[in-house]
Structures are given as structure tokens and as C-alpha cells.
């Protein structure tokens, strides 16, 4: 057991740094050093992830965790978004100056939970990792302790707890039917069942449906999306950013892993759940896009936009389900989209954080004339919005082409048509923000300034979005490598 510790070196190193942050926060006065330690810890963990990249696929701790490129890729993605969120909250933390230590420590703890979640291959570890990240996020969402934030935290807590109870019931039923909690053992059992008795096994199928519902909450798919706009609006903006990317990416990673590993085998079974996901995808993107059209608060707008993006991601998940036997090119569409979405959305949120630090408002009308008050921030936000819409020369376009062409190959043309129509609708509200920023008259001529960590984070995101948009080949190779483990 001890020799396997090195496989979870990223999590352990991040945990050590989180504990250091907590203890230091108790004993020292100057808080400036805390974000430095947090970022350093994330980089050490990132280094550990990169060092593990080459190792052969294996499972550790009695099939509790897997070490594979899929998990490592998402770990790296989570760590990158953790670093960017910490950098971006550089000025925001002054709103709760006394509690900076807790803020960074909880962020890191939730990142550990997400990192364990993406590599978990046992229902027990999946549940514990999910709760580790969720419970930290409940606290972070209500961190401001004002009316809005505590209300958002309360809603997130209640709905999250109910979702996890439902998820757990699904897990218990799957465990009861198959007698196992490890995903590969479940897969072996499901493969071994005669088709007739599998179709006639309501307990297993109910378990599967409950499982999808429970994760539907995490990835914010309709009809489990009610919490998203409220929580996004009320939470501290850096946490909103973190929720919309890291938590969502990990949710998609784990749901893809469960569905493909444990229920990927009899052809009709994976076609069935792929169809469920496809129908949910239509609902998710339509609801997200249509309600987003009438939003006036930018955080709420991004809440609905992230629901819509979850819909596109579910198109990829459905294609993955249909393509369980095909090569890894199609299966990597989801991963590539998550990659580009994470950087794009994070970039947009970093710009929003920087702007709202100055103007203290989240109303879209207050963004009027932002191009004159801070051209660089407005440019950054515009690049990210263009990418979210899916226009050249950005990562969003490549990701959408990639994910939709994969779905068309798998005979989901109807789904892709709906998704493209939805993308056109989304252009309306994304460009509403752009128009307000560039065409609107400035409310006043105060310059909107920002600090170098914010510049660094925003610059990194925008650069990545454009670079991926222009030379996507190298990144596609990485995501295809990550998708390889689901080959059959």
C-alpha cells in the first residue's frame, strides 16, 4: 500500500500546502504570504501531475483510484483553474480580510476533492470525493455572510444535499444488484448478465437513473439546474468562476467515467443512456439560452450561459455513449470542449471580477462604455465572449466544430441541428454585453484599474483561447490521449 502513495502525490502535496495555509493563518499577521503559498502548492501539485503523465494505466488502493491520462488531464485542468482563481481573487479577498486563510484553504480542499473525483473508480471514493469538494464549496458560496451570499449558500446546501442523497441511493441500488462498488467489477457483472434479465432488472436501471440525476445536479443539466442562477449571483465572484469551470469539468469527467466504464458494454445499454443524455441536452441548452436572453445581471447571465454550455457538453457525452466502440477521436470531443470552455469562462470571469472590484455592481447596464474606461479588460472579456459564442479565431469555434462533428458521425444529426440553432440564439446575449461595453456611453470617466495578478490570469486565459483557436492540433492530441482509456 505504501509504495502506491506516489500515485496520489498531487493530492497529498496540495493537502500539505492547504494545512500549511491554515496553520500559518492562525499564527502570523501579514496575510499577503497566504496566496503565495497557495499558488506554490498548486504548482507543486501540477508538477507532480506532470511527472505522473507517462506512467502506465493502473489502479491503486484496491481499485479505489485510477492513475490514467484521463484523470491526470483533468487534475491538471483543475489545478490550472485553481491557480487562476487564486490570482484573480487577489483584490476580492479584501472584502473578507480576516478570513483569507480559510478562503484559500477551502479552495484548495475543494480542488483536492475534485482531483480525487476525476480519478476515482469506486463508488465509495466517488461519493467521498464529491462531498469533500461540495462541502468546501457550500462554505465558500456563503463566504461573504451578507444576505445574498448566505441565501445562495443555503440554497446550494439544501439542493446539493438532496442531490447527493439521491445519488447515494442510486449507488446503493447499483451496489445491491451487482454486489460490487468498483466500476470495473460492475462492468464485468453487467457484461455477464443475459440481456433479458438486464432489461428486466428495474433496480439496476432505477439506480442508473438516480445516478444520472445526482450528477445532473453537479453539471447543472435541466431539470436539476434551479440552483445555478441563484448560487452564481449570490456567491463571491471568484467562487462563481470556480464553480462554473472546475466543479463542472470534474462533474462531466466523473459522469463520463462511470457511464463508459461501468455501463459502456452491452450495445443497447450505452445507446439507451446516450439517448437519455441527448434528450436532456436539448432541454438544457434550450432552457439555458432562452432564459439567458432576458438577464440583466452579468453573473446571472453567466449562470444561464453555463447551463447552455452544459447542454453542448452533454451533446459530446451523448456522442461518447453512441461511440463506445469507435476510436478515441470522437470520444475526445467532450474533453476538448471542457478544456476550451474552462479557459474561456475563467477568462470572462476574471475580467468580471476585475471590473466589479471597481464599479461594485454586476448590472450589465453599468458595464456601459467599459471599452473607454479600461480598454484591455473590455478586450479580454470580448475575446472570451466571442469564444463562448463560437466564432473564429478562438478556441470556442474549434471546440464546437469538434464536438458537433463527432455527434454527427454518430447519427445525432437532429441533436446537432438544435445545438447550432441554440448557438445562434446565444450570440444575442453574448453580443448584448459586447455592444454595451463598446458602443455604450460611459457612466463616468473613472479609469478601471486592476492589479498584476489579475492581468496575468486574464492574459493567460485570453492567450490560451486564441492559441487553441489558431493551432488546435497539439491540444487535440493531448485530449485524444486522455480519451484513450475508454477504448474497448
Amino acid at each position: 500500500m505504501m509504495d502506491q502513495i506516489r500515485y496520489i502525490a498531487p493530492e497529498i502535496s496540495l493537502l500539505c500546502f492547504a494545512l500549511i495555509v491554515i496553520v500559518l493563518d492562525l499564527f502570523i499577521k501579514p496575510k499577503k504570504v497566504l496566496p503565495v503559498i497557495a499558488v506554490a502548492g498548486s504548482f507543486v501539485a501540477l508538477l507532480a501531475v506532470l511527472m505522473l503523465w507517462g506512467v502506465p494505466v493502473t489502479d491503486v488502493f484496491n481499485k479505489m483510484l485510477a492513475v490514467d491520462q484521463f484523470g491526470l488531464f483533468f487534475k491538471a485542468l483543475i489545478l490550472v483553474s485553481l491557480v487562476l482563481v487564486i490570482l484573480a481573487s487577489n483584490r476580492y479577498v479584501l472584502k473578507f480580510e480576516k478570513f483569507q486563510g480559510e478562503f484559500y484553504a477551502l479552495l484548495m480542499l475543494s480542488a483536492i476533492g475534485l482531483m480525487l473525483l476525476v480519478s476515482a473508480i469506486n463508488l465509495i471514493t466517488i461519493y467521498v470525493a464529491l462531498e469533500l469538494s461540495s462541502i468546501s464549496l457550500y462554505v465558500l458560496v456563503s463566504f461573504l455572510k451578507d444576505k445574498q451570499s448566505s441565501e445562495a449558500g443555503l440554497k446550494y446546501l439544501i439542493l446539493g444535499a438532496v442531490a447527493s442523497a439521491i445519488l447515494l441511493y442510486g449507488m446503493a441500488l447499483i451496489f445491491g444488484t451487482t454486489g460490487n462498488t468498483c466500476l470495473t467489477c460492475i462492468a464485468d457483472y453487467v457484461k455477464g448478465m443475459p440481456a433479458a434479465s438486464l432489461a428486466g432488472s428495474p433496480v439496476l436501471l432505477i439506480g442508473l437513473v438516480l445516478l444520472i440525476s445526482g450528477f445532473g445536479f453537479k453539471i447543472a443539466s435541466v431539470p436539476f439546474q434551479m440552483w445555478v442562477p441563484d448560487v452564481y449571483e449570490g456567491a463571491p465572484t471568484p467562487i462563481t468562476a470556480y464553480l462554473s469551470v472546475a466543479s463542472k469539468a470534474a462533474g462531466f469527467a466523473v459522469i463520463a467515467r462511470i457511464l463508459l466504464t461501468a455501463f459502456g458494454m452491452p450495445a443497447w445499454l450505452h445507446n439507451d443512456w446516450a439517448m437519455i443524455i441527448a434528450v436532456l441536452a436539448v432541454l438544457t441548452m434550450t432552457v439555458g439560452n432562452i432564459v439567458a436572453l432576458v438577464q440583466t445581471n452579468i453573473k446571472r447571465l453567466f449562470g444561464y450561459s453555463s447551463i447552455a454550455q452544459a447542454g453542448y457538453l452533454m451533446v459530446g457525452l451523448a456522442a461518447m455513449g453512441m461511440a463506445a466502440q469507435a476510436d478515441s477521436t470522437i470520444r475526445s470531443g467532450l474533453i476538448f470542449f471542457l478544456f476550451s470552455y474552462t479557459l474561456t469562462n475563467l477568462g470572462a470571469f476574471i475580467a468580471i471580477i476585475a471590473i466589479s472590484n471597481k464599479i461594485n455592481s454586476d448590472n450589465i447596464d453599468d458595464y456601459s462604455g467599459m471599452a473607454k474606461r479600461s480598454p484591455l479588460l473590455a478586450t479580454g472579456l470580448t475575446i472570451c465572449l466571442v469564444s463562448l459564442t463560437g466564432l473564429p479565431p478562438t478556441a470556442g469555434l474549434i471546440a464546437k466544430i469538434y464536438i458537433f462533428s463527432g455527434a454527427v458521425d454518430q447519427g445525432l444529426l437532429w441533436l446537432v441541428i438544435i445545438a447550432v440553432i441554440n448557438s445562434c440564439i446565444s450570440a444575442f446575449y453574448y453580443f448584448k454585453v459586447v455592444k454595451v461595453m463598446w458602443m455604450g456611453e460611459p457612466v463616468n470617466n473613472d479609469e478601471v484599474t486592476s492589479t498584476w495578478p489579475e492581468w496575468l490570469a486574464l492574459g493567460f486565459c485570453c492567450l490560451a483561447v486564441v492559441v487553441i483557436g489558431i493551432i488546435p492540433g497539439a491540444f487535440m492530441a493531448i485530449t485524444q490521449n486522455a480519451a484513450k482509456i475508454f477504448g474497448i
Binding site: M1, M2, L19, I22, V23, L26, F27
Partner: protein, 123 residues
């Protein structure tokens, strides 16, 4: 199988009969004059002995109890894991010892946090 439910039926009848008769018994005995009937305030109070009750029964507890409750829950969880470790202490060997040690260190940091933040003080 069916006659097994008969036992449940009998149990049910006894239970319902018992709960109905017992509260009615004093009234019955009163009616036939076996027990005296004298009202007095102490007798009709909620408790026949001890202190007089003061105030309403919907009292808000001081929220500081909450901190102690949480710290207690922490110990509770500690017991769960220590117990499962203790019953298998031989098989788990040195690896288990190290794991529990790490667990305890993390918990201690939790208590350290509570102590430094003043959660252990009643102020």
C-alpha cells in the same frame, strides 16, 4: 406465511387495547369510587415533584452550544474510524498506524484552529 401475520395482528390488537385502556383506567376507578378525587394545583401540574417550571417551553438556546456540538461531532467521527482501525489493528499493521497517525494530525489541526479562533472559550 399468512399465519405469521396473525401474530402481528394479535400484537396489534393488544397494543391498541392497552393504549386505550390505560389512560381511561383512572377515570373508571374514580367513577366506582375506588380513588378519592381532590383537586389541587400541585397535583394537576406537569410534574408532581421538583421545581416549578419557569417561562415558556420554546426557549432559544444560546448559539455558542453549537460550537461545542460541532467539536463533539468531530470526536464522534474520530471514534468511527478509530474503532474500525482498532478491531483490525493486527492485520493493518504499520501502514494502518501511519494512516491513523496522519488522520489524527489533520484532526489536531482542526482543533488547533478551533482553539486559536476562540471557539473553546465561553465569551
Amino acid at each position: 406465511m399468512l399465519e405469521q401475520y396473525g401474530y402481528v395482528g394479535i400484537l396489534l390488537i393488544i397494543a391498541v387495547g392497552f393504549t386505550i385502556t390505560i389512560p381511561l383506567l383512572p377515570k373508571l376507578l374514580q367513577l366506582i369510587g375506588l380513588i378519592p378525587h381532590k383537586k389541587n394545583p400541585t397535583k394537576s401540574g406537569q410534574y408532581e415533584c421538583g421545581m416549578q417550571t419557569i417561562g415558556k417551553n420554546w426557549v432559544q438556546f444560546n448559539f455558542r452550544y453549537y460550537f461545542f456540538a460541532v467539536l463533539f461531532v468531530l470526536l464522534d467521527m474520530l471514534t468511527i474510524f478509530l474503532y474500525t482501525w482498532a478491531v483490525n489493528i493486527k492485520e493493518l499493521g504499520i501502514g494502518g498506524l501511519v494512516a491513523v497517525g496522519v488522520f489524527l494530525v489533520i484532526l489536531t489541526i482542526g482543533y488547533l484552529y478551533a482553539w486559536r479562533k476562540g471557539a473553546l472559550q465561553w465569551k
